[in-house]
């Protein structure tokens, strides 16, 4: 009788050894200074933190505009571009892969617009279709490379990192790329801050005072896509959208003013990036993307629980109301 595996994946478990949870917590509480002061960690940490700060700020726009899942679709859709850029360049040059990711993300976005505007399919269905077919294309191309002798001499192990992200492989060149994208993005955001604010909260008014909404959409898209494409190596194609969505959600639990929301989103993004990168540096098996997102999501849920308008606050307000009433 053969072993009836549900999934081949779980063969991995049988060969695995279990990490002691206790020591994990211990290491977590007392930050390891050796790791903190190591050059590699500093490079990686700088990269993820800058990226998370920029993504957190820009992400507030798309969340407030109600387009958070478009980032998810574009993130997935950028992957085939990375593989094609690799096939053309035969190397893992961050800049070339970045350009590939941007192009394929842009094509995906154009298709999303085309389909959702000219057919009765709603945005949700369009996103699901584009996301799965583009990512499928990426996997097809990747399996093509693996089976092809022309690519046999080129190392392609790094391509996998673009799915889940692996900060351990971040090099100086990647950090420069992150800087080159994040700083202009934030600058553009600051320059057009007033326009963005009006555009987000009252598009009709924005139009009436001469702000072109097509231009604003394009601007928002270019920045978002740039950040997604740079983030692929750090966080991976699947989870990069969370960098945009989750800090914004956290921030909206605490503040109601736009500038404060942006600030809090950036800060929580940076903090999560730091902690996540640290955790994944201690345990090399843990991918950076998932670690950062775990921290980010926990902060978000905590905020929803204990924030000023959160679940607990609502509960206590209700109880107080009932008590007051019964006293009368």
């Amino acid at each position: 009788m053969e072993i009836m595996d549900l999934m081949y994946l779980f063969n991995l478990f049988t060969a695995s050894k279990i990490i002691d949870i206790g020591s994990f917590q211990l290491a977590f509480l007392s930050l390891d200074m050796d790791i903190l002061s190591s050059y590699v960690f500093m490079v990686v940490c700088a990269g993820t933190m800058i990226l998370a700060a920029a993504a957190g700020a820009i992400g507030t726009i798309s969340v407030l505009k109600g387009q958070s899942l478009i980032g998810d679709a574009i993130g997935h859709s950028a992957y085939p571009g990375v593989v094609i850029a690799f096939m053309i360049g035969m190397a893992l040059d961050p800049l070339k892969l970045f350009i590939g990711a941007i192009i394929s993300g842009a094509i995906a976005f154009a298709l999303i617009q085309l389909i959702s505007r000219h057919s009765k399919l709603n945005l949700d269905a369009t996103l699901a279709i584009i996301l799965s077919s583009f990512f499928g294309l990426g996997m097809v191309l990747k399996s093509y490379i693996q089976g092809h002798e022309a690519f046999a001499h080129v190392s392609q192990g790094g391509l996998k990192n673009y799915i889940f992200g692996q900060a351990a492989y971040i090099k100086n060149a990647d950090v420069y790329l992150i800087l080159a994208v994040a700083i202009p993005s934030i600058l553009i955001f600051i320059i057009f801050y007033k326009e963005f604010k009006v555009f987000i909260f009252d598009e009709t008014y924005a139009k009436s005072i001469g702000i072109k909404s097509n231009f604003m959409y394009a601007l928002m898209l270019v920045i978002t896509m740039g950040l997604i494409a740079t983030g692929l190596k750090v966080v991976g194609a699947i989870l990069i959208s969370s960098f945009l969505i989750v800090p914004a959600i956290t921030a909206m639990q605490w503040a109601q003013q736009f500038n404060r929301v942006i600030l809090i989103a950036s800060l929580t993004g940076m903090f999560s990036a730091f902690l996540g990168t640290y955790i994944s540096s201690i345990y090399p098996g843990m991918s950076t993307g998932p670690s950062i997102i775990l921290v980010m999501s926990l902060i978000a849920f905590l905020s929803m629980l204990i924030g000023p308008r959160g679940i607990l606050a609502k509960y206590f307000r209700r109880r107080k109301f009932i008590n007051d009433k019964s006293n009368v």
């Binding site: 053969e2 009836m4 595996d5 549900l6 999934m7 081949y8 994946l9 991995l12 060969a15 695995s16 050894k17 279990i18 990490i19 969340v63 109600g66 958070s68 899942l69 998810d72 085309l114 000219h118 057919s119 399919l121 709603n122 949700d124 269905a125 369009t126 699901a128 279709i129 584009i130 996301l131 799965s132 077919s133 499928g136 294309l137 990426g138 996997m139 097809v140 191309l141 399996s143 093509y144 799915i163 889940f164 699947i238 959208s241 969370s242 969505i245 345990y283 090399p284 098996g285 991918s287 993307g289 998932p290 670690s291 775990l294 999501s297 978000a300 849920f301 929803m304 924030g307 308008r309």
Partner: protein, 382 residues
Amino acid sequence: MINLMFKLSNFIGLGEQILITMIITAIACALLGCFLVLRKLSMVTDALSHSILLGIVIAYFVTKDLGSPFLIIGAGIFGVFTVYSIELVANTGLVKNDDAVGIIFPLYFSLGVILISMFASNVHLDTDIVLMGQTIMIPLYTTEFLGIVLPKSLLNMSIILLINVIFILLFYKELKVSTFDPQQATLSGFKSTFLFYCLMALSSFTAVSAFDTVGAILVISLFIAPSASAYLITKDLKYMLIVASLYATVNSIIGYYVAVALNVSISGMVAVISGLTCFLTVLFYENGVVTSLLRLRRNRRQLKLDLVIVHIGNHLGQESEQLELGFDSIANHLSWKQERSSKTLKRLIKENYIVAEQVKKIFILTEKGQERYDLLKTQYGL
């Protein structure tokens, strides 16, 4: 004894076994997908397919057995829990529905990835298997059912397909009403929420079973792409279900053979083909992008012809006809550029609406042209 056993592999090649499993999986997903598309829940499948990974890992920790059917059940229940948590987060009113999806699934997926890499730290997590499944391994894991030896996934998916079909047949009316008119459903006295969770539970179990053969990403594609295409070209739920199944079958067949020919990932290719057929449908269905453009062009051309016909009809037999309809002067009176009017006139002559009268050197209407002129006059009340 073994020789007496009926083995599927004796009759059908390994490749065909994969293909049949793919088709059955695709149909099982597409049937439920129709309701998800109509209820605007497409991105929930995205969340479902990602968070199932965590469900499978947790279920494995409890059962400690890879072959256990409880693994599927556990992961399926976790899928329902995912949907429940999305609803829960969205219902707090603190975030929008889209954001709730966007915050829940990355968390669960990250947890799944982390748990796997923590407890399998000396083996690198194989992303291909998580995302793209093990399509090629389908015929290798066989099981015996009613004396027939067949691939385990084929058996699993056939059972799931059967359950889905029975569910849809039994609750067809209820599903229809609660999908298109939730208020009416509530008034009629059955619980929409109950049906919603039934649908979600089935989607979850279908996704879990499909996950192991086709992977997380293709599951989304199988659920949504055929149903979305069918939604565009049908106007009746019954036909939509049938057309979606047809799309699912065709996508699987094309995807499988292209993938085999190019020696690439089968499930990836099926996802690409599904996206492609859906895109072609968007372009070419009744109100599609290309069809609408063609219709516009045809209308514009017809309008030009009609304008000239009306012009000629109005002036024919009047004193000014020599001036208005003359070979050289007509272009001025149409107020069109020479090139455009001569092109239109040529087409009119070719389509036998007008002829050039050589004696008076003017254009006159033929019998067909006169008919068209009269028709236009009555239509527009001239």
